[in-house]
């Protein structure tokens, strides 16, 4: 038996393995513990946080589409104050790095959240969700304008000493332009992809199926798109990448790593199989044994 080395690096973050739980699909880590030992993931990314509490979107918030799910949860979360009062102690008990996913409706929101979260060593880094609308600037998503991506990255970096991950939205014409803007703004790591903007219509009611009309598509249906974007970004950008979008198996994860991701995140798979992260790690090991690969790091970007 060869000794397998699954460790990977994301800027200053050292992960014991490359499989991370994706934001919004693992609560605050503890909700999963009956099904997934919280010590197993390489890191845990918690639900998107906003300054003020949010009740999210109207029901129905979820529907299934071919090989995918469409969600419009709408960033329901308890808000910063409640997060600091009750959730921080929960994530403080976890033994793996915890990434806090943040969202805002203005540049100042992002800067404020970064500053307020800076003092806490329980938080290993911030993942900045730029998929939300810029209410101050007309409602276009931050992540669809490279100037805004640059500024968000810059403002968060300015206020937060730890590693900053910019999480890109796929709803753009040129993903590389957005990735380069994030790098220019000072991002340490890039994660991609967030969900694809999509919809479904109920032909009996003759109305949009989701309460919010539009939702975000995730799951196996988006994997080829996500993989292409990771590949494109990895070809042009030097900072580490967290790849995600439709990863259901270890073999899917390996594809992302070969495309240039230093780590991967698993979202939708956990909603179906709460132990998916542990299974995927085992499947990655099986692949490494089969191919006689000792270090997962040796696979990063091999398909580029």
């Amino acid at each position: 038996m060869i000794e397998l080395d699954l460790t990977t690096r994301l800027a200053s973050l050292k992960l014991k393995n490359p499989v991370i739980t994706a934001s919004g699909t693992c609560g605050y880590g503890e909700e999963l513990k009956e099904y997934l030992d919280p010590d197993i993931p390489g890191a845990i990314t918690v639900k998107g946080l906003t300054i003020k509490p949010s009740v999210g979107n109207p029901a129905p918030r979820i529907t299934e589409t071919p090989a995918g799910i469409l969600n419009s949860i709408g960033l329901e979360n308890p808000g910063l104050e409640e997060f600091l009062a009750t959730k921080l102690s929960v994530i403080g008990k976890l033994n793996v790095p915890v990434l806090v996913n943040i969202s805002g409706h203005s540049l100042d929101d992002f800067a404020f959240l970064a500053e307020k979260l800076a003092p806490y060593p329980q938080i290993a880094g911030l993942e900045v969700n730029v998929s939300c609308p810029n209410l101050a600037g007309g409602g276009m998503a931050f992540g669809t304008d490279s100037e805004l991506v640059y500024r968000v990255a810059y403002r968060v970096k300015e206020n937060y000493p730890g590693p900053v991950i910019i999480k890109l939205t796929p709803n753009v014409t040129d993903i590389v332009e957005m990735a380069e803007a994030a790098v220019a703004g000072g991002a340490d790591i890039i994660s991609l992809i967030n969900t694809l903007l999509a919809m479904a219509i109920d032909i009996d009611d003759k109305r949009p199926l989701l309460g919010n009309t539009f939702g975000g598509l995730s799951g196996p249906a988006i994997k080829p798109v996500a993989l292409r974007m990771v590949y494109q970004v990895a070809s042009r950008v030097k900072i580490p990448i967290i790849g995600m979008g439709g990863i259901m198996t270890g073999r899917d994860a390996i594809e992302f790593i070969l495309a240039g991701a230093s780590a991967v995140a698993v979202g939708t798979a956990t909603l179906i199989d709460p132990g998916a992260v542990a299974r995927i790690i085992e499947e990655i090991k099986e692949y490494m044994i089969e191919k006689e690969i000792k270090r997962i790091k040796d696979l990063i970007g091999q398909a580029l």
Partner: protein, 259 residues
Amino acid sequence: MVIGLMVEVKSNQRVGNDYYLLKIRALELTDSIFPGQFVHLKIGRDNLSFDPLLRRPFSIHDLSDEKDIYLLYRVVGKGTRILTDYKTGDKLDLLGPLGQGFKLDFVSRKILIIGGGMGIAPLYFLAKRLAKQNLLKVLIGGKNKEEMEYFIARFRQADIEFAVATMDGSAGFQGTVVDLWQKDNTQPDYLFACGPEAMLREVQVIAQKKGIPGQVSLEERMACGIGVCLSCVHKTNKGNQRVCKEGPVFSLEEVVFDD
């Protein structure tokens, strides 16, 4: 590859127009199952089937004397259609029991149970448990006699006092089950209800007027079923609550129904 628990299908029979009774053996689970809880099934020949992708939630309908689990399901779409193909001896991937069931520390009380449509499925299990120590009455309602026939037979067999309402009057009272309650004017100490949201809303209004406490079981579209994704939340007077985790059973007073 195994996800959740692989359980064995004991039987899967059509028992009504468009609904089926599925009997599964899961002895590991039965001692911890309570009325009102549900199981989350991954349907499809392959555990990793992408079509359907998500699990599907079903209430516990009954436990057999041999501790087998009964689910009663209506065929409404792709998942339930594929479920009808399962045969005796086939394996199913099951997560559960999930959620908070009915709280039932009741003795010698006058209890009313009101169920509409497939909402009656979990109430049968509840009624069987409560009938032993309480004065129980069950009101059930549906579209027509065909839909109600199975339930009528089951409640009769269990020797539980019940009355039926159908929209077309083909069995029992003509009208909704709530109309039936109004007409029959039962004044219970406590009530339980499950069914379409419009029905539950009416039950809540009437119960409030009469000062009757109770519990309701809600349904929302679910993804994870275990509390991590916030797909299934419902408004309550304590804010949004997850139907899969804090529910599906809530106290009648705390649920907030939109108009």
